[in-house]
């Protein structure tokens, strides 16, 4: 009897939690099809805000720019993050491992406002001292994004490396494989899922970043979050509902695919999900 009471209480608490997470998203989706400009009045079904969104040149251009920056940042972050993860999991520790582990952990606890401010001061100082980078724009945003995203990529790849059986590499060496061959034919294929996870995580973090981009961008290189921020600051605009609905839809499709793929390889699945998603923590 009493146990049922606890079970019902737990279900109710879970329902509250999921409702809290999803009611705002559902509202945005519903109102994106609202013909009325007033968010509180239902004026009938309409897709006109989607039309308005796709006719909005600045938004489309900023979206293209943000996707390009995110792709560059994610690729760079995975390259640097993988090297860092390899260096950190090597035994015996190579020279500089202590310094590297500190430098990889620090950006994760640093407020993004400070990351943005310090990156900007560096770019300005470098421009004055050596003339590069000449002005700020996509390149400086991408460099700043690579810097903090690489720390997240390191966490993801390192978690995967820690699960690898060192005997695999040793066996390959015993059979005469050189270290580089061991890396490309044994280690790399085994950590490939973590590289994909790290890339997607970095891509999302870069695409979502307002603060660092605001500091490191220059005239004419506004990213999508910068544009959304200025629009939201001015008030609620119905096109944003349409944009949010598209983002939610795309993410939902990706998550559904991920869920389906996890089903295919059950027992290890949830644990590695929990572990891989967990480091998605710091910055935002």
């Amino acid at each position: 009897m009493k146990r049922d009471g606890y079970a019902i209480g737990l279900r109710a608490a879970m329902a509250v939690g999921y409702a809290f997470l999803y009611v705002p998203l559902v509202c945005v989706v519903v109102y994106s099809f609202n013909a009325s400009r007033l968010v509180t009045v239902w004026g009938g079904f309409s897709t006109k805000w989607y039309g308005a969104l796709f006719a909005n040149g600045p938004i489309l251009e900023a979206a293209r720019r943000s996707f390009a920056i995110a792709a560059m940042a994610a690729t760079g972050a995975v390259l640097i993050g993988t090297l860092a993860a390899l260096a950190l999991s090597r035994k015996p520790p190579p020279r500089g491992q202590g310094a590297l582990s500190l430098l990889v952990a620090a950006p994760l606890v640093m407020p993004e406002v400070i990351l943005g401010l310090s990156a900007l001061l560096l770019f300005v100082g470098m421009q004055q001292a050596v003339g590069w980078p000449a002005g700020r724009g996509m390149a400086t945003i991408a460099i700043a994004h690579v810097t903090f995203c690489s720390c997240y990529a390191t966490v993801v790849v390192r978690a995967r490396l820690a699960q690898l059986d060192p005997a695999l590499g040793e066996a390959a060496m015993d059979l005469g494989a050189r270290p580089l061959a061991v890396f490309f034919r044994i280690t790399l294929p085994l950590i490939a899922p973590a590289l994909v996870a790290g890339w997607l995580l970095s891509f999302t973090l870069s695409l979502d970043d307002l603060v660092v981009a605001s500091f490191t961008s220059g005239p004419g290189s506004s990213t999508l979050p910068m544009l959304i921020y200025s629009k939201v600051k001015l008030g609620v605009t119905p096109e944003m509902n349409a944009l949010a609905t598209i983002v939610i839809g795309v993410v939902a499709v990706f998550v559904a695919i991920a869920a389906w793929m996890l089903r295919q390889r059950e027992p290890v699945a949830h644990d590695s999900v929990a572990r891989n998603v967990r480091p998605g923590a710091g910055s935002k």
């Binding site: 809290f20 929990a274 967990r278």
Partner: protein, 293 residues
């Protein structure tokens, strides 16, 4: 071959050294720089700066301002308060979620976990925008409160501290739930049956068995929420009122509105010393503790 091995450490070390560590030295230098003469770049050249320091000493006026102007102290305190209370609220809301996920059947568990993660992968700005629509004077929350007779005129929620708490909890709840669920999933639930067999009431069993065993998850989740929440800019800026000043907002305003780079740098150094370095120390100590067990 030796060179290749060395590059594995050197490349990330060099990148982070140039683009993460070096900028902090620039920030520290900037915070101690004398006022730039009109028409000059606000950032002095290194040689000029060293000459000025040699002649006049370091310029501490911005650090003096951090102490004399109560705006800065209240911004630091506000940030810690917002982050601390929100972390507790995340724990209260997230613990049952994580517990329910851990006790669910494996197939349901994967779906429940993905449902927690999904909002994180969407844009945080757009999620804050969604909250504005719900919290504002004629938004959904007020309509529900009015319809149920809890209030008789629209409550003011948006642009209050309450809205900031709601926003931070909404944004960071997944970071609390995931490590908690991961810890609880490894928990041996037959321990609870043993406790019950030995006569423990459900609450005692929870308090004396489940809670202590889930502590690593509680600590990990709390850090994952607290650390980014301290420096949060977007939530207090979009949902909070003008008095919801946090360190993130103060640095932003000093830089973008007042164009006082040196003051912004001094505030940043203050955050570094008071917040970021202690957190880094705490996290690394925890990491070493994990490695030891």
């Amino acid at each position: 071959m030796n060179r290749a091995r060395w590059l594995v450490t050197a490349v990330p070390l060099a990148w982070l050294g140039v683009f993460f560590l070096l900028p902090f030295l620039v920030v520290v230098a900037m915070s101690l720089a004398p006022p730039a003469p009109p028409g000059h770049s606000p950032l002095p050249a290194p040689g000029e700066l060293l000459r000025s320091w040699a002649a006049n000493g370091l310029d501490w006026r911005h650090y003096g301002a951090l102490f004399s102007d109560s705006l800065y102290a209240s911004a630091y305190l506000n940030s810690l308060l917002f982050a601390g209370v929100s972390t507790l609220a995340c724990l209260v809301l997230g613990y049952p979620l994580a517990y329910g996920i851990a006790r669910a059947k494996p197939a349901a568990r994967a779906v429940l976990l993905l449902l927690v993660v999904l909002p994180f992968w969407t844009s945080s700005l757009l999620r804050n925008y969604a909250l504005i629509g719900i919290l504002k004077g004629n938004g959904l929350l007020n309509q529900v409160l009015l319809a149920t007779g809890i209030v008789d005129r629209p409550a003011e929620i948006l642009h209050t501290d309450l809205a900031v708490y709601i926003g931070i909890v909404y944004g960071y709840l997944p970071f609390m739930v995931l490590p908690l669920a991961a810890t609880l999933m490894r928990l041996d639930f037959t321990l609870l049956e043993a406790a019950a067999d030995l006569g423990a009431r459900p609450f005692d069993a929870f308090w004396r068995v489940t809670w202590p065993l889930s502590r690593p998850g509680v600590i990990a989740g709390s850090l994952l929420v607290f650390v980014p929440a301290v420096g949060e800019f977007v939530v207090p800026d979009l949902l909070g009122g003008p008095r919801a000043l946090t360190i993130g907002r103060v640095i932003w305003t000093e830089f973008f509105s007042n164009r006082d780079w040196a003051r912004a740098a001094a505030v940043a150094v203050g955050v570094l010393v008071l917040v970021a370095l202690p957190l880094l120390w705490f996290e690394r100590r925890g990491e070493r503790g994990d490695a030891a067990t």
